[in-house]
């Protein structure tokens, strides 16, 4: 589904990601973990084309280099941004509908079904469909961000820190939904600091440190890896600014 070779992202002269190889198979859930600033978010942004990068990104067999982000979205590569990037002054429903804009533009006018599906997944959004996005709590905003991404009918869903800044109960709820998506066969690339939760959900995982892959392997193996345990799975693993 996704094949990345030699990815490199720079800001000014600072290297954020260097020589990164990565692949995601159809139906797989892959976790990308690592400390703050390891280059996880930069990787996702590069995959979507929102930052300039070098290296080869192959998606469903075709090179993505030079393809506009919105075209990537239209091809089913959809990102839930770390900062959610909702349209704060618009209602929940408007946000969701805009998530399907690429399809709408292609002429698909029947979005009702998708809407119902998202509402079924997040009943809280259904209750608040007329509410402005900016006035919702962090957890609800995160649900909306995921819901908006689902409206695009992603073939590969990129999730950036879905648990960031959320209360534990909400995090649990969000991961519950991710599990359901996984069960439905959605392919997911998940970036998460909550390494324990991420590795429990994922099939495989990569550990990024300072812009490079430090470790990789099946999620179950990573969970047992002493280095991962020490750095990311103690009580230490939870906190984040």
């Amino acid at each position: 589904m996704l094949e990345v070779r030699g990815l490199e992202v720079r800001y000014h002269a600072a290297v954020a990601v260097e020589d990164l190889d990565l692949h995601v198979g159809e139906g797989e859930v892959v976790a990308l973990i690592g400390p703050n600033g390891a280059g996880k978010t930069s990787t996702l942004l590069a995959l979507l084309g929102l930052v300039a990068c070098r290296g080869e990104i192959r998606y469903r067999g075709r090179l993505l280099n030079g393809v506009e982000p919105e075209e990537r979205v239209a091809r089913g590569l959809v990102l839930v941004h770390e900062r959610r990037q909702l349209f704060g002054e618009m209602t929940v429903e408007e946000n969701l509908l805009l998530g399907a804009f690429a399809r709408y533009k292609r002429g698909e006018r029947r979005l009702k079904g998708d809407l119902e599906r998202v509402y079924a997944l997040f009943p809280r959004l259904a209750e608040r469909r007329r509410q402005l996005a900016a006035t919702m709590s962090g957890g609800e905003q995160q649900m909306l961000a995921i819901g908006r991404a689902l409206m695009a009918r992603p073939r590969l869903l990129l999730l950036d820190e879905p648990s960031l800044g959320l209360a534990p109960l909400i995090v649990r709820e969000i991961f519950g939904i991710l599990r359901r998506l996984k069960a439905e066969g959605t392919t997911i690339l998940l970036v998460e600091q909550n390494a324990r939760a991420a590795l429990e959900l994922a099939d495989r995982g990569y550990v990024l440190e300072a812009g490079r892959v430090a470790l990789q392997g099946p999620a179950a193996e990573l969970r047992e890896n002493p280095r991962v345990v020490e750095h990311y799975l103690g009580i230490q693993g939870e906190g984040s600014g």
Binding site: E70, V73, L79, V80, H81, G88
Partner: protein, 332 residues
């Protein structure tokens, strides 16, 4: 003051205000989506009636060729990027055909004029602004000033220095509360209102309109939703040119038109747009009406200092708006 004079000044201010409001709306739209302060807007506003006037004189206006040329250059750029620019080539042909149609059927001249001017906006965006994504507001502004020079120079070359008189689309006057007001003015105000209402509907009801708003408020969020910010920019320019050209065609029979009038019109629209913080559409309309009224009344009381009064009175408005705006904007 004599209530009759008051009434006249009021109606004059409202008519001018409607014009400035339209220009301000277009400027706000373009700025919100692209961060371009569209100085050449004023030129496009006058290009439309000037094109119409030349058509009515039985000559093919040079704007037709300009429009077609820009569209073809755009098409050539697309071709280089490996796309087939069939629509653009067709549009270029259409513009030329419309020009000849306007010659043959003078009644259609106003419509043709708007159609001819319409491609200038999006083509300008495509050729001059799109290649510089992410430039600062200041660089875009200077770029816009450069284009203003170009269009102004072209205006002089195409239309000459003199004004053109245009026939009213709807001649005559009508009494409003005992006050004679020209139909054309009422048409302008009505058209402004209608345009605003349809823009409102477009932005709140249509998913395309919402996408445009989305691109304006959150560019990254928009791209994540598959909304192309570039396309949004082109659409914003297209709408702005359309609004401007329509405003121009409607106001010209009241005021005559010359290539030079554009800048001042644009400036006043810009003032109204700033009063709205370059972000709020209803406030842009209010700002336009405010500028129109200020201008009308100050031209009665102290015509020599008219602009000075309009701008000086804006300072407190600005201070108030600045204090009451919550967001800490980037200073550029």
């Amino acid at each position: 003051m004599d209530p009759l004079i008051f009434g006249f000044l009021l109606s004059d201010g409202l008519i001018s205000g409607a014009l400035y409001a339209l220009v301000a709306l277009a400027l706000v739209l373009v700025f919100a989506v692209t961060r371009v302060i569209l100085i050449p807007m004023g030129e496009w506003v006058v290009f439309a009636p000037l094109t119409q006037a030349v058509l009515l004189e039985g000559r093919l206006p040079a704007t037709v060729w300009l429009s077609a040329l820009l569209l073809l250059v755009w098409a050539a750029l697309d071709l280089r990027r490996g796309r087939t620019p069939l629509l653009l080539a067709l549009a270029a042909a259409l513009v030329v055909a419309a020009g000849y149609l306007g010659l043959a059927v003078p009644a259609l001249a106003p419509l043709v004029a708007i159609l001819v001017v319409l491609p200038l906006g999006p083509a300008t965006f495509r050729l001059f602004f799109e290649p510089l994504p992410g430039a600062t507001v200041l660089v875009y502004l200077i770029l816009a000033v450069g284009l203003h020079f170009v269009y102004k120079g072209l205006g002089l070359a195409f239309f000459g220095p003199e004004q053109f008189g245009l026939p009213a689309l709807l001649a005559g006057e009508v009494a409003v509360l005992g006050l004679p007001v020209p139909w054309q003015g009422i048409m302008l105000v009505l058209a402004a209102g209608l345009l605003m209402a349809s823009l409102y509907l477009f932005f709140t009801r249509s998913l395309f309109g919402k996408a445009l708003r989305a691109a304006a408020v959150n560019r990254i969020g928009a791209r994540l939703s598959g909304i192309s910010v570039r396309e949004a920019g082109r659409v914003a320019f297209l709408l702005a040119t359309g609004i401007g050209a329509l405003a121009g065609v409607l106001v010209a029979p009241l005021s005559n038109a010359s290539y030079e009038m554009g800048f001042l019109l644009g400036l006043k629209g810009f003032v109204a747009a700033i009063v709205a913080g370059l972000s709020s559409y209803p406030l842009a309309v209010a700002g336009g009406v405010l500028v129109g009224l200020l201008e009308s009344f100050s031209s009665f009381f102290a015509s020599a200092y008219k602009e000075a009064i309009v701008f000086a009175l804006l300072l407190p408005v600005l201070a108030w708006r600045s204090v009451s705006s919550l967001e800490l904007e980037e200073e550029e």
